[in-house]
C-alpha cells in the first residue's frame, strides 16, 4: 500500500471541512474507516464511502459507534491505517474502546466533529464541548493527543499530522473539529504528493522470537508488529507487563500507566504545535483553538486598531496542554483571555498554569453559534485594565 502513490486530488478545491478531512485522511494513507452516521460528521463518511473504492480502501458502516471504534482498533492491529469519525454522542460511545486503544497503544485517529450538547443537544449547530471528553472521556488515567483545526484547509493538513502523531506515539489521536469548520466551505489546496510527509508505522525490526509487545524505545514508545506476521503476540486491555501478559498488581499497574502517561507528557514539547501572532509586545494574549481562533483574530484586530497590545496564541494541539509556553506568556502579560464554545474546559488548564502569574479571563459560549468578536474584545479591554 505504501509503495503506491496515494490518489491525491492535487490542486485547488472548494470543499467543506468534512470533505477536506476525508481527502486528508486518504492522503495520509488511511485505508480503513468504520463509522456510524451522525450529524454533523456524516459527510466525512459519505466522502470516504465514495472515494475509498477508487483508492483501494475499505469502508464499513457499523451498527453503532461502539463497534466502529472496536473495528478501527482491529484494523489497526491487522496493519491498516485506520480512523473513525463521529460527533459528541457517538464520541461518548467510543470512549470505552478509545481506552482500549490507549491501553494497547494502537495507532489510529478519531475525528469528532463537535456539536452543542449535552445529550442530543444541537445536532446541526456548533460547539467545543467535547474537549475534556477528548482528554479524559475514557475511564482510568491516560494522556492523549488532540488537535483542533480552524479551517477546511487545516482539516486536510492537520489530519495528516494527526495520523503521523498517532504512528509516532502509538496512541489514538483525537481530531477535534466542530460543526462550523466541518460545514464551512472554503478554498482547499491539495499539495503535490512530494510535499506530503506521511510517517510510517514504528515496525519492530529485531529477532522474531525476541519480540515483546511493550518493550519501549528511548522515547517511551514500543515498536509495533501486526497480526499475520508470525509474531503470535498477545495484547490485552488488562494491566500488562512488557510481554503483553496480564499482571494484576500495583507494581505492574505503576509501570504500565506511568509509561502510558509518560510517553505523551515527557514528549509534550515535541508534540505541541502552536501558532503565535504579535505576542512579543503583547499585554494581553488571546489563547484559542478551532473555530474560536478565527473569531479571536477579528477581536484582536479590533483591539489593535484601538492601540491595545494584544497577541494571539493558537493551540493547534490542545492536548497535551502546552504548559511551558502558557507559563512563559503568563509571566510577561497582564491577562490571558480564552474564548471557548463551552462553559470553560481548556480554560481550566490555562487557569491552572497561568493564575499564579497573571489574570485569566474566560469568554464562554453555550454553543449553537460562534462568539461575537465584541465579547472577546470586551474581555481584552477588561484584561488590559487589570
Amino acid at each position: 500500500m505504501e509503495s503506491k502513490p496515494p490518489v491525491l486530488l492535487t490542486g485547488p478545491h472548494y470543499w467543506d471541512g468534512d470533505f477536506a478531512c476525508a481527502e486528508g485522511a486518504i492522503a495520509a494513507g488511511c485505508r480503513f474507516l468504520a463509522g456510524y452516521p451522525i450529524t454533523p460528521s456524516t459527510e466525512v463518511a459519505e466522502r470516504i464511502a465514495e472515494r475509498f473504492p477508487l483508492v483501494g480502501g475499505t469502508f464499513i458502516q457499523m451498527e453503532d459507534e461502539l463497534a466502529s471504534m472496536a473495528a478501527v482498533l482491529g484494523a489497526a492491529w491487522a496493519g491498516a491505517r485506520a480512523m473513525t469519525v463521529t460527533s459528541g454522542p457517538g464520541f461518548s460511545l467510543m470512549q470505552e474502546n478509545i481506552g482500549l486503544g490507549v491501553m494497547t497503544e494502537t495507532p489510529c485517529v478519531v475525528v469528532d466533529v463537535q456539536r452543542g450538547g449535552p445529550s442530543t443537544g444541537l445536532p446541526t449547530l456548533t460547539g467545543q464541548q467535547d474537549m475534556m471528553q477528548a482528554r479524559w472521556g475514557s475511564h482510568g488515567d491516560y494522556e492523549i493527543i488532540a488537535l483542533s483545526p480552524s479551517s477546511p484547509q487545516e482539516c486536510f493538513d492537520l489530519i495528516i499530522t494527526s495520523f503521523n502523531l498517532s504512528e509516532k506515539y502509538r496512541v489514538p489521536v483525537m481530531f477535534m473539529m466542530d460543526e462550523c469548520v466541518g460545514h464551512m466551505t472554503e478554498r482547499v489546496v491539495v499539495p503535490a504528493l512530494s510535499s506530503i510527509k506521511v510517517r510510517h508505522r514504528r515496525w519492530y525490526r529485531g529477532a522474531r522470537d525476541k519480540y515483546h509487545p511493550y518493550v519501549p524505545a528511548k522515547d517511551g514508545v514500543p515498536p509495533i508488529v501486526k497480526a499475520g506476521d508470525d509474531y503470535r503476540f498477545h495484547i490485552t486491555g488488562l494491566t500488562h507487563d512488557q510481554r503483553g501478559y496480564p499482571v494484576i498488581n500495583a507494581e505492574c499497574q505503576h509501570q504500565c500507566v506511568s509509561r502510558l502517561v509518560g510517553k505523551i507528557k515527557d514528549n509534550t514539547d515535541r508534540i505541541v504545535i502552536l501558532e503565535e501572532d504579535r505576542t512579543e509586545d503583547a499585554e494581553v494574549v488571546v489563547v484559542s483553538y478551532g473555530i474560536s481562533y478565527r473569531v479571536a483574530t477579528r477581536a484582536i484586530d479590533l483591539a489593535r486598531q484601538q492601540g491595545i497590545k494584544v497577541g494571539s496564541l493558537r493551540l493547534v494541539t490542545v492536548w497535551p496542554f502546552p504548559e511551558r509556553r502558557i507559563i512563559e506568556l503568563a509571566k510577561k502579560v497582564k491577562c490571558l483571555v480564552m474564548p471557548e464554545i463551552n462553559m470553560g474546559q481548556v480554560f481550566l488548564e490555562m487557569e491552572r498554569c497561568a493564575s499564579c502569574f497573571c489574570r485569566t479571563r474566560l469568554v464562554p459560549h453555550c454553543g449553537g453559534w460562534v462568539h461575537d468578536p465584541n465579547d472577546i474584545l470586551k474581555a481584552i479591554l477588561k484584561g488590559v485594565k487589570s
Binding site: 500500500m1 505504501e2 503506491k4 490518489v7 494513507g29 485505508r31 480503513f32 468504520a34 473504492p53 477508487l54 483508492v55 483501494g56 480502501g57 475499505t58 464499513i60 457499523m62 451498527e63 453503532d64 461502539l66 463497534a67 466502529s68 472496536a70 473495528a71 478501527v72 482498533l73 482491529g74 484494523a75 489497526a76 492491529w77 491487522a78 496493519g79 491498516a80 491505517r81 485506520a82 470505552e96 474502546n97 481506552g99 482500549l100 504512528e167 510517517r199 510510517h200 508505522r201 514504528r202 515496525w203 508488529v225 501486526k226 497480526a227 499475520g228 506476521d229 508470525d230 509474531y231 503470535r232 503476540f233 498477545h234 495484547i235 490485552t236 486491555g237 488488562l238 501478559y245 496480564p246
Partner: protein, 300 residues
C-alpha cells in the same frame, strides 16, 4: 486408590504445546470448567485444519471465556466487554487473509455484544464464533445472563430467573449465520469436527458450546460438580443434525438438542463488497490492497 507416580510425563511436551503459551499455563479456569475443554477442542481443530498458525487470530471479549485469548500461542486479542466481534470485523477486513476466531461467552456475545452479533451474522462476515454458554456471568460471581434458563437461580436472580432466555441457534440462524452448531463440553470429538468445519467455512459461523460451570451455576442450582454436569449432558443430549433451530431452546435441566443445525453457502461480506463494487464502479474500482507491509522505514 493408587499412589502417585510424580515422575510420570514430566519431561514430555503436550501435543498442543506449540499452540499454547506454556508460560501462562495453568489457566485461571476452575476445576471442572468446560472452557478449557473447549479451548482444547479449538486448538486441536486448528492443528488439524492445516491453516498456518500465523494466519489465525483469536479475539476474545471479557469474562471467563475472554481469558482464552491469553493462552493461545497465536495472534490474540483480549478486547473490551462485548466488542470482540467488531474488533474481529476490523481485523478481518483489514487483512482478509486472516482466519479470525472469536472466543467469548454468552453474556459477552448475547447481552452487551448482542447488537454486534446479529449484525455480523446479517453481513455474513467471514469470522468464526465460539460461544461458551455456561448460562451465567461467572467471572463476576454468577449473575443471570440472556441464556439463563427460566427458574435457574443465580446471584442476581436469587429466587430463580423469570426472564425468557435466548434460543441462541435460532437467533443467529434467523440473522443470517451460514454455519450454526451446538455441542456440549462433553461432545469433544464432534465439537472439534464442527470447529474444524467452521474454520474452513466461508462466512459467519457460530458454534454454541454448552459448558459446565461448577463453581457458580452448578453450585447455585445444586447441580453438583463439573463431572455431574457432564453426566447430565450425556444423559440428556439429543443429537439432531439439521434440526429446526426454532425448536432448540433450552429449559432448566431438560433435554438438550445438539448437533449441526445450519451449513449453507452464501457470499460473504467481503465477496459481496468486492463483487458489487467492481460491477458498479467498473474499471475505476481499486480493491483493498491489504495492510501495510510491516517493512516501511519509520523515518525516526
Amino acid at each position: 486408590m493408587k499412589r502417585l507416580d510424580v515422575t510420570l510425563g514430566q519431561d514430555l511436551r503436550h501435543p498442543l504445546e506449540e499452540y499454547l503459551r506454556m508460560d501462562r499455563i495453568p489457566h485461571v479456569w476452575c476445576p471442572g470448567c468446560g472452557i478449557g475443554t473447549t479451548l482444547n477442542a479449538f486448538l486441536t481443530a486448528v492443528k488439524k485444519s492445516g491453516i498456518p498458525r500465523k494466519d489465525i487470530a483469536v479475539v476474545s471479549g471479557i469474562g471467563c471465556s475472554g481469558r482464552a485469548a491469553g493462552y493461545v500461542k497465536l495472534d490474540s486479542f483480549h478486547t473490551t466487554h462485548g466488542r470482540a466481534i467488531p474488533f474481529a470485523t476490523g481485523l478481518k477486513l483489514a487483512n482478509p487473509k486472516l482466519t479470525v476466531v472469536v472466543f467469548a461467552g454468552d453474556g459477552d456475545l448475547l447481552a452487551i455484544g448482542g447488537n454486534h452479533l446479529i449484525h455480523a451474522a446479517r453481513r455474513n462476515m467471514d469470522i468464526n464464533i465460539i460461544c461458551i454458554n455456561n448460562f451465567n456471568y461467572a467471572m463476576t460471581g454468577g449473575q443471570f445472563s440472556p441464556t439463563t434458563p427460566e427458574k435457574a437461580r443465580l446471584t442476581t436472580a436469587p429466587y430463580g430467573s423469570y426472564e425468557h432466555p435466548f434460543n441462541v441457534p435460532f437467533l443467529v440462524d434467523s440473522c443470517g449465520a451460514t454455519y450454526v452448531a451446538r455441542w456440549t463440553a462433553l461432545h469433544v470429538r464432534r465439537l472439534t469436527n464442527s470447529i474444524l468445519e467452521a474454520l474452513h467455512h466461508p462466512g459467519f459461523s457460530f458454534i454454541e458450546v454448552i459448558s459446565s460451570c461448577p463453581t457458580v451455576y452448578a453450585r447455585r442450582n445444586r447441580l453438583g460438580t463439573g463431572l455431574d454436569l457432564l453426566k447430565f449432558y450425556r444423559d440428556n443430549s439429543v443429537i439432531k443434525n439439521g434440526a429446526n433451530t426454532r425448536e432448540c431452546d433450552i429449559r432448566f435441566q431438560e433435554q438438550l438438542i445438539v448437533g449441526k443445525f445450519v451449513d449453507q453457502e452464501k457470499p460473504t461480506y467481503h465477496d459481496t463488497m468486492t463483487e458489487y463494487l467492481s460491477q458498479s464502479v467498473g474499471k475505476r474500482y481499486v480493491p483493498y490492497q491489504g495492510p501495510m507491509q510491516g517493512k516501511e522505514e519509520d523515518g525516526n
